[in-house]
Amino acid sequence: MKEKSVINITDGAAIPLKKDPGLFSAWRIAFFGSLSVLAYLLLSRPKPYVDILKFLPDGILVTFQVTFCSIFFALFLGLITGIGRISRNRLINAIASTYVEVVRGIPLLVQLFYIYYALGRFVRVPDIVAAVIAMSFCYGAYMGEVFRAGIESIDKGQMEAARSLGFNPSQSMFYVILPQAWRTILPPVGNEFIALLKDTSLVSILAVADLLRRGREFASETFTYFETYTLIALIYLLITLILSKLVSIMEERLRYYERH
């Protein structure tokens, strides 16, 4: 019978939560609650709300663009930083550690302004590019800590075994350490992804037409500030709720695999 449960996993069968909190879980209340409010507003008062909603898809697209581009570069930067943080080379280690310290000590909004205007002194890049650079720079440091923890969670005998076979340090990392570390890394990366998506709302200050910016544009023309921000809050909430559900499903699956 053991064999059967193994087949179930490879078939990708739904894996039940260990403890189902039932109908009244916080997530369900928040998700279905906000969905109901959204539906109610659109149906009962289509005049401002449907108009607002029609105005926003461009902004949602930009928010996702900034999020995906930033997470891509942040992951790349984070991998380098994480490896740098555990490097025995003192110079590399110092650079990586200083980067993390500096980024963690400066508010993201200040970093955004700083990189935007510092960059502007040398090159003229589109606002959205400056925004992605700034977000990546900041989140690269956080990701660096995630990668470092993930790599350090792997027994050091693994690196020794790989090296003893003749793999060089980066081959060992790529073929042996990282494929094992991703299980530890993936859930916190998911959470950082959600945090990053929310933080992209800050780029609206840099004239990037993201969800929040589009809302402000609409509101300032029609003076429907309350209605617009209500809708924007609901949209952010629904997106992050869906994403956090995906992350927790992923975590649950990883835990399931680990037990088997």
Binding site: D155, G157, Q158, E160, A161, A162, R163, S164, L165, G166, F167, N168, Q171, Y175, V176, P179, Q180
Partner: protein, 250 residues
Amino acid sequence: MSATEPVTEPIIRMERVTKNFGTLQALREISLHVHPGEKVVIIGPSGSGKSTLLRSINRLERIDSGHIFVDGQDITDIRNDINKIRMEVGMVFQSFNLFPHKTALQNLTLAPMKLRKIPRAEAEANGLRLLRKVGIEDKASVYPSRLSGGQQQRVAIARALAMNPKIMLFDEPTSALDPEMIGEVLDVMVTLAREGMTMVVVTHEMGFAREVADRVVFMDQGEILEDRPPQVLFQQPSHPRTQKFLSQIL
């Protein structure tokens, strides 16, 4: 130096090797030669430096002074590619260190495919042959977590052999095993020794040393105190510390 060296040249040559861990002298001016095909067993109390000595041969442990020549190349010389040298030196660890995300067969094929650029089919055929040799061909597609300790260590030996090394190093290969599994691992090692592999083995298995070793090296406090054929060392240990150690362990 001549380009072609006689066969009798030692394949491992350690010259006045010193290694310190802080104030602890792990290796004090160690000199040791191992010739091709020789089986050298290193014994000694814990903390005597025997594992450090073994690990220094493939530079998992960097030495502070002295020289180590492996297959004619000075591994302390940074101009020599240590990764190339390590491909010729198989290592078996006390804690197996199999790759848990790979099946038994994949553990064997990873390094040959990536480092020796051997095609998958050939690497797998060779891997299966080695798994058969260590007696667990039927576990080829099983992940290490589903194998017993003895099976894992046999896969680890096969993994090292898959690179077709000239030398095999064993760092207490049976110390982490349940008693009933020690035999199956030692059997594999005995077979390997009979086939003429050059082996350096750190172990507490005196039976194995007696049966297989050409020389038994006794270490204590970072020094080699005796280096003799097993019959001589076990029958008439000359150094008092060897006598004391043997009386405790036998």
